[in-house]
C-alpha cells in the first residue's frame, strides 16, 4: 500500500455556495502534505469529509486502500479547526479519553505531554489553558495510538509569535517521525518550511499539486531601476538568469534564477557602467507564485 488517501471527485455545497467542486487528490505514504488555500477555499470542508464529520454531496474517498474497513480513523490522529476537549477535565484526563476510544493501553502520557511542553500543566483543567496550550494538547492527542497519518487544520491559528514558533517546532518533529502528515494552512511560509508536497485549492477546486520545491519555486525577485532605463532594459535582454521582466511605475521587477546571488547582479551592473537608483531584493516570491496560481 503506497496510497494512504484517495479522494475522487468530492463535491459539497452549503446551499448555493459550492465548498468543494469535484476535488481529486492522492496522498502517498510518508509525504508531508500541505493543503494550501485562502480562507474559504474548502480546506476544512475537505478534512471534515475525509474524517466523516461532514457528508459529501457526491464523490468518494478511501483511506489506506480500504485496509481498515469502515472505520480507519482509529489509525489517524487529527485536529479539526479548534482543539475540542472536555473543559472540566484535566489535560491528561482528556488524553485518556482519546486513548480509550482508540483502544490504547499503557500509553506514556508524561512523555507526550513533555514533547508538547505541557508536563507542568497536565493536571490542570482544560478550560484553564491558553489557546497555545490548547493547540499543543491537541497535537499531543494526535500522537496517541501511534497513528499512521496525522492531520492538522490551521494548527497555528490565533497564536502569538511565541506560540506559533513552539507549535511549528513540534510539528517539524512530528513530520520528521516518518508519519504521513496532512496539514491545512493558508500560511505559505508554514507550508514551505514543514511540507514536502502541496496541493493548492481555491473555491473548492484543486488548482495545482506537486512538490513544494517545484510548485512554489525559489527563484527570487528584485526591484531594480537606473536613471538610464533604456540601457538597463537592453542589458536585461542579454542575461539568461533573468527569467521574467515586469515594468512597474518607478522600477522593473526581474525574476532571477536562484543560482545567481543578488550581490552578483549588483556587481554586474556596476561593471557594465549602470548606476542604480533603486535595488531591492523581494523575499515574497513564494507569495507571488501562490497568488499567481490562485488567480488563474
Amino acid at each position: 500500500m503506497s496510497h494512504v488517501l484517495k479522494i475522487n471527485n468530492l463535491s459539497k455545497a452549503y446551499g448555493k455556495i459550492k465548498a468543494l467542486d469535484n476535488l481529486n487528490l492522492t496522498i502517498e505514504k510518508g509525504n508531508i502534505y500541505g493543503l494550501l488555500g485562502p480562507n474559504g477555499s474548502g480546506k476544512t470542508t475537505t478534512l471534515a469529509i475525509i474524517l466523516s464529520i461532514l457528508k459529501a454531496d457526491s464523490g468518494s474517498f478511501e483511506w489506506f486502500d480500504g485496509k481498515y474497513g469502515n472505520n480507519p480513523r482509529i489509525h489517524i490522529g487529527a485536529i479539526l479547526e479548534t482543539p475540542n476537549f472536555y473543559p472540566y477535565k484535566s489535560g491528561v484526563d482528556n488524553l485518556k479519553i482519546i486513548a480509550e476510544i482508540k483502544g490504547v493501553k499503557g500509553f506514556d502520557y508524561d512523555k507526550v505531554m513533555k514533547m508538547v511542553n505541557l508536563e507542568h500543566r497536565k493536571d490542570s483543567k482544560f478550560r484553564t489553558y491558553s489557546l497555545g496550550m490548547k493547540q499543543r494538547l491537541a497535537i499531543a492527542a494526535t500522537m496517541i495510538g501511534d497513528p499512521e497519518v496525522v492531520i492538522f487544520d490551521e494548527p497555528t491559528n490565533g497564536l502569538d509569535p511565541q506560540g506559533i514558533a513552539e507549535v511549528r517546532s513540534i510539528l517539524k518533529r512530528v513530520a520528521e517521525s516518518g508519519r504521513t502528515v496532512l496539514m491545512a494552512s493558508h500560511i505559505l511560509d508554514e507550508v514551505e518550511k514543514i511540507c514536502s508536497h502541496v496541493a493548492i485549492i481555491k473555491k473548492g477546486k484543486l488548482l495545482a499539486t506537486g512538490l513544494v520545491g517545484e510548485l512554489l519555486s525559489d527563484d527570487y525577485l528584485i526591484e531594480i531601476n537606473s536613471l538610464d532605463q533604456d540601457k538597463l532594459s537592453k542589458l536585461a535582454g542579454d542575461f539568461d538568469f533573468i527569467k521574467k521582466i515586469e515594468k512597474q511605475k518607478d522600477f522593473y521587477i526581474w525574476t532571477i534564477d536562484n543560482s545567481v546571488p543578488a550581490e552578483q547582479i549588483s556587481r554586474l551592473m556596476y561593471e557594465k557602467g549602470i548606476i542604480l537608483n533603486h535595488f531591492l531584493i523581494r523575499k515574497q516570491k513564494l507569495e507571488e507564485e501562490f497568488l499567481k496560481i490562485v488567480k488563474q
Binding site: T82, N84, F85, Y86, P87, S90, D93, I97, I101
Partner: protein, 270 residues
C-alpha cells in the same frame, strides 16, 4: 467497541462533571426525604392519607414523587449529555478520534440505561426504607405485596423521560432551547393539545389519553386520582390508563424517541 467499553468511556467522560455529580446527589438525597413533607398534612382530610407511608400504598406515593424527580433531573440529564457534547464539539472529536456514529449513539443509550437503573434502585430502596421506618418492622411479604410491577414501571418512566430529553437535544442541539422545549412540551403543549384540540375537536372517547407524556405519567400517577375520579362518572371511562396501557404507550414512545434521535444523528453533519 463492546458495550462495557462504551459505558466505561461515558463514565470516564462524566466522572469529573460537577453538574452531573450534583444532580445524582440531589436525587439520591431527595428521593427518601420528599415524602416526609406529607407529615405536615396529618390534620388535613386527604383521601388515602392514612396510607402515605404504609405498604403497599407507599410504593404509589413514592413512585409519584419519584416521577417528578426523574422528570426534573433525569430528563434534564438526557438533554445535557447530548447538548454538552455538541457545545464542547467533543461529539465531533469523538468521531474524528475513531468512534463510529453507531458506537457514539449506543454509548449514550447504554449510559442512559445505567443511570435509569441507578435511579430505579434508589427509588426502590428508599421506598422500602420509608415504609419500614414508618411501620417499625421489616416484613418482606408486606414489602413485596401489591407492588404492581412498580420497579419496572419506574424504570420505564425514567428511561422514557431521559430518551425524550435526548431526542429533544438532537432536534434542537442547543441546551437552552432544548430544555425550554422539554419542559414546555411535557407541562403545556401535550396537555393543552390533548384537552383543547384532540378531546374537543377530534374525539370524545379515550383516544386522547394515548399520548407519550400521558402514557409515561400514568405509569406512576397521583394515587388520589383513584379516589376522586369524577371523570369516570362524566365520561364513562377513567381519566387514568391502566398500567398495561401506560406501559405499552411508554414503550412505543421510547422506541419513537430513540428512532428519531438515531436518524437525526446519522443523517446530519456533526
Amino acid at each position: 467497541m463492546n458495550p462495557i467499553k462504551l459505558i466505561k468511556l461515558e463514565v470516564l467522560k462524566y466522572k469529573d462533571n460537577s453538574l452531573i455529580q450534583m444532580l445524582l446527589m440531589f436525587y439520591t438525597l431527595l428521593m427518601p426525604i420528599v415524602i416526609f413533607v406529607l407529615k405536615n398534612f396529618d390534620d388535613i382530610n386527604i383521601p388515602g392519607k392514612d396510607s402515605f407511608f404504609t405498604f403497599p400504598k407507599v410504593w404509589e406515593y413514592q413512585a409519584y414523587i419519584g416521577s417528578w424527580l426523574t422528570f426534573l433531573f433525569f430528563g434534564f440529564l438526557g438533554v445535557y449529555i447530548i447538548t454538552s457534547e455538541i457545545q464542547f464539539k467533543t461529539m465531533r472529536q469523538n468521531i474524528i478520534t475513531g468512534l463510529s456514529r453507531n458506537e457514539f449513539f449506543m454509548g449514550k443509550i447504554l449510559i442512559t440505561l445505567v443511570v435509569t437503573f441507578y435511579a430505579t434502585i434508589v427509588f426502590y430502596l428508599s421506598t422500602i426504607l420509608v415504609g419500614v421506618l414508618h411501620e417499625g418492622e421489616f416484613d418482606l411479604n408486606k414489602i413485596l405485596d401489591h407492588q404492581d410491577y412498580v420497579f419496572l414501571r419506574f424504570f420505564l418512566l425514567t428511561f422514557a423521560y431521559m430518551t425524550f430529553g435526548i431526542m429533544v437535544a438532537f432536534i434542537f442541539r442547543k441546551s437552552g432551547l432544548s430544555i425550554f422545549f422539554y419542559f414546555s412540551y411535557i407541562l403545556m403543549i401535550e396537555p393543552l393539545f390533548r384537552w383543547m384540540v384532540h378531546h374537543k375537536v377530534f374525539s370524545n372517547g379515550r383516544s386522547f389519553l394515548y399520548y407519550p407524556m400521558n402514557g409515561i405519567e400514568d405509569l406512576a400517577p397521583l394515587p388520589s386520582f383513584k379516589y376522586i375520579d369524577n371523570f369516570n362518572g362524566l365520561k364513562n371511562f377513567p381519566i387514568l390508563m391502566t398500567y398495561t396501557e401506560a406501559g405499552i404507550i411508554s414503550i412505543i414512545s421510547i422506541i419513537l424517541f430513540m428512532t428519531v434521535s438515531y436518524l437525526l444523528f446519522l443523517k446530519r453533519d456533526i
